[in-house]
């Protein structure tokens, strides 16, 4: 494209002829995923007694669907999918740190909550009492 020789900032090719078809297709995919997510969420809300494993399973499915939505938004709407492979990896691989820190935050939060629930403000910290020995008047330590 002649624009690209003219403007150094343009780092990838845009094909205007490609049109808006791809965007609309993505829009419908996102809409369908959102409707599925909402219906799953409402199922959890409206069905009163549900076994907890099923609850957890539905939440897991919703999380995966959300990640799929994130993939479509970043790849199509934010054009990351049009970049070269190395650029994509540079952006995506550091995001793996999220796995670590979401895990770390959850662990830390749960530990704090448990400690706070068990906190006893009347508990006194004590050192080990000095063993008493009959007739022993010897003073130990400094100034003896």
């Amino acid at each position: 494209m002649e624009h690209n020789t003219q403007f150094a900032e343009v780092t990838h090719h845009h094909e205007p002829a490609e049109g808006t078809g791809r965007i609309w297709k993505t829009f419908w995919i996102l809409l369908i995923i959102t409707i599925i997510e909402l219906s799953l969420g409402l199922t959890m809300y409206l069905v009163p007694e549900m076994p907890s494993w099923l609850h957890l399973f539905i939440k897991g499915v919703i999380c995966i669907l959300s990640l799929a939505k994130a993939f479509y938004i970043v790849s199509i709407f934010m054009h990351l999918g049009d970049e070269i492979r190395n650029m994509i990896m540079t952006i995506v691989v550091p995001l793996m740190l999220f796995v670590w820190f979401i895990g770390a935050f959850l662990w830390d939060g749960s530990s704090y909550r448990t400690m706070r629930n068990r906190y006893d403000k009347y508990k006194e910290e004590r050192t080990m009492p000095r063993p008493e020995q009959a007739g022993d008047t010897t003073q130990h330590g400094f100034g003896g």
Binding site: L40, G41, I62, S66, K69, A70, I73, V74, F77, M78
Partner: protein, 182 residues
């Protein structure tokens, strides 16, 4: 292009309108809760959370006997909109208690206090980002109608504004996941 930018701005305002509506209902909403052995009427704020465990009918009926006058007036007011507030306030406690159907109140305990702070903090920040996105889109709309980009020869500015808008969109996917779905 002008048409779709305009629709995006309309959509942004629609989001902000829904959020304002939701917040108003959460903050001013009246929900019966059991705290300190008596009933109270509260909404969702950063200090209190009315969404705890359901309270048994017996416990709620017992707590009703210890509930002070002003709260009784509020409790009646939740379901009864015909009698004006002044008239309710003039009634005796016994009369007010007679007007309350405890089962209908769906009394709960108070829930975790931290919820309000997280909810309003995070959705509020998101709403602020949407608002700034709408402002940016309005600027883009004005620049487009003035043919600024046509004269410049490229639409990079629109690309950048779009990138911001979709970033805010992406954040909402996760905010929605955490607060509304799970």
């Amino acid at each position: 292009m002008i048409k779709w930018l305009a629709w995006t701005i309309v959509g942004g305002f629609a989001f902000l309108g829904c959020q304002a509506w939701e917040w108003t209902h959460l903050i001013t909403g009246a929900h019966a809760v059991l705290s300190n052995g008596q009933l109270d009427v509260i909404g969702q704020t950063t200090h209190v959370n009315p969404w705890g465990q359901h309270v048994s009918l017996a416990a709620a009926t017992d707590a009703l006997q210890h509930t002070p006058h002003d709260v009784l007036v509020k409790l009646v007011g939740i379901h009864n909109h015909e009698v004006p507030h002044e008239q309710l306030a003039a009634m005796t406690d016994q009369q007010l208690r007679g007007m309350i159907d405890v089962a209908e109140l769906h009394v709960r305990e108070t829930g975790p206090v931290a919820f309000g702070g997280f909810f309003y903090g995070i959705t509020g920040f998101h709403g602020f980002h949407v608002f700034s996105g709408v402002c940016i889109n309005i600027v883009m709309l004005i620049m487009t109608t003035n043919n600024v980009f046509e004269r410049r020869g490229h639409y990079l500015m629109i690309e950048k504004a779009g990138l911001y808008w979709h970033f805010v969109d992406l954040v909402w996917v996760f905010v929605f996941l955490c607060f509304y779905l799970i």
